[in-house]
């Protein structure tokens, strides 16, 4: 894998609108964005309704993922091009799912919906109709996903990358600054975690920085030891999916996991160590 295998630009996407072997998928938390206008031919996936278990806190299981993709008309041999709002957070999160469940060819649109909009490219409100398929997923690739006990065990041993904003990391905020701050979890960060906000990996238009800039950011500025395994986390696992994409897919680091329980789980656990204050 390298950047050209996993990331395409808007010209590539535009050239593949209507390509029968490419399914363009918009992934959002706020799906009114899709309804307002989307890349022509794109189908939508709702980050919460489609990708989360409706009862317990977990994401859709293998059967649920198969049912979702079959219903959306996505085949195992289709190339799936993901994009979305919020600088591709949720698209990166969905990309991580596609990798977890073993999809063959999956791509991310550099810059996502934001760059597409800022470029004034065409948006459509037509909802495509795709015939149902019989999608078959593999078992979850657990080498890409960290659960809480593994995270606690990683303190002081592996790279822990907290990709939230400095205020969330330090414990001054419990959520990003575009959300109300009324939640009950403890604030702070996992001891020994480095704070590399996801936004540092992105340009203003939502595209990813160059591989050279990204390597400098994580290795030189943040002091990550690329010889060690890495776990990325945020608040609920979608911003850290963006960083997982950078480290695992763009920079080709072999052992990088996303901790999707993230701070909403860790900050509510009884008895686990928490640090407050600025990054060291």
């Amino acid at each position: 894998m390298s950047r050209s295998d996993v990331l395409v630009d808007a010209d590539w996407a535009e050239a593949h609108i209507g390509d029968p072997h490419v399914v363009i998928v918009e992934v959002d938390e706020d799906t009114s964005a899709y309804d307002k206008g989307h890349i022509p031919g794109a189908v939508k996936i709702d980050w919460k309704k489609d990708l989360q278990d409706p009862v317990r806190r977990d994401f859709v299981d293998k059967t649920g993922f198969e049912a979702l993709l079959s219903e959306r008309g996505i085949s195992n041999d289709d190339t799936v091009l993901l994009y979305g709002g919020n600088n591709n957070w949720f698209a990166a999160y969905a990309y991580w799912y596609f990798r977890l469940y073993g999809h063959g060819k999956v791509l991310l649109l550099d810059g996502g919906r934001k760059k597409w909009e800022l470029d004034s490219r065409e948006l459509s409100t037509d909802v495509p109709s795709r015939p149902k398929t019989s999608y078959t997923a593999t078992e979850q690739d657990r080498s890409l996903r960290a659960l809480r006990d593994e995270v606690i065990d990683a303190i002081g041993k592996r790279n822990l990358v907290d990709v939230r904003s400095p205020d969330e990391f330090a414990g001054r905020l419990l959520a990003p600054a575009h959300l109300p701050q009324e939640q009950a979890q403890r604030a702070g960060h996992i001891p020994t975690a480095r704070n590399v906000p996801w936004s540092k990996a992105a340009n203003e238009d939502g595209t990813f920085r160059s591989d050279e800039e990204l390597r400098h950011l994580y290795a030189d500025e943040a002091g990550l030891d690329f010889g060690k395994d890495t776990i990325a986390y945020c608040r609920i696992g979608e911003r850290s999916a963006h960083t997982w994409f950078v480290l695992h897919e763009l920079l080709e680091q072999p052992n990088v996991k996303n901790y999707d329980g993230s701070w909403t789980e860790y900050g509510s656990l009884v008895g686990v160590p928490i640090e407050l204050g600025e990054a060291r």
Partner: protein, 101 residues
């Protein structure tokens, strides 16, 4: 939208979700007298450090729940339109910043 996701809905989370203790920064973006319904409001800290971003609502609106202190508000819109404003947020205050591009 509840706060169980991390995304910003267009225009920002509704003000009714805020309590009186929040440090709210909100406003509307217009261009040639019309609302800018496609674009982004970014909140930046010292040294242009990115903090948060909200897609503009159909009425050009945006809303942040910031930490108290000085911030820079940057607006991006299609056609290379952009603007920047200094803004001060305080707990219990709604700071309104209307921007004409």
């Amino acid at each position: 939208m509840t706060a169980d996701g991390c995304g910003a809905p267009a225009g920002g989370v509704a003000a009714s979700a805020a309590t009186g203790s929040q440090a709210v920064v909100e406003g509307r973006v217009v261009h040639d007298g019309a609302a800018v319904g496609t674009g982004y409001a970014r909140l930046l800290g010292t040294g242009d450090e990115f903090v948060a971003e909200v897609p503009l609502g159909t009425d050009g609106g945006f809303r942040f729940f910031a930490a108290p202190g000085p911030w820079t508000l940057r607006i991006l819109a299609p056609g290379g339109l952009r603007a920047e404003r200094a803004v001060q947020a305080d707990y219990g205050q709604v700071t309104t910043v209307d921007v004409a591009l």
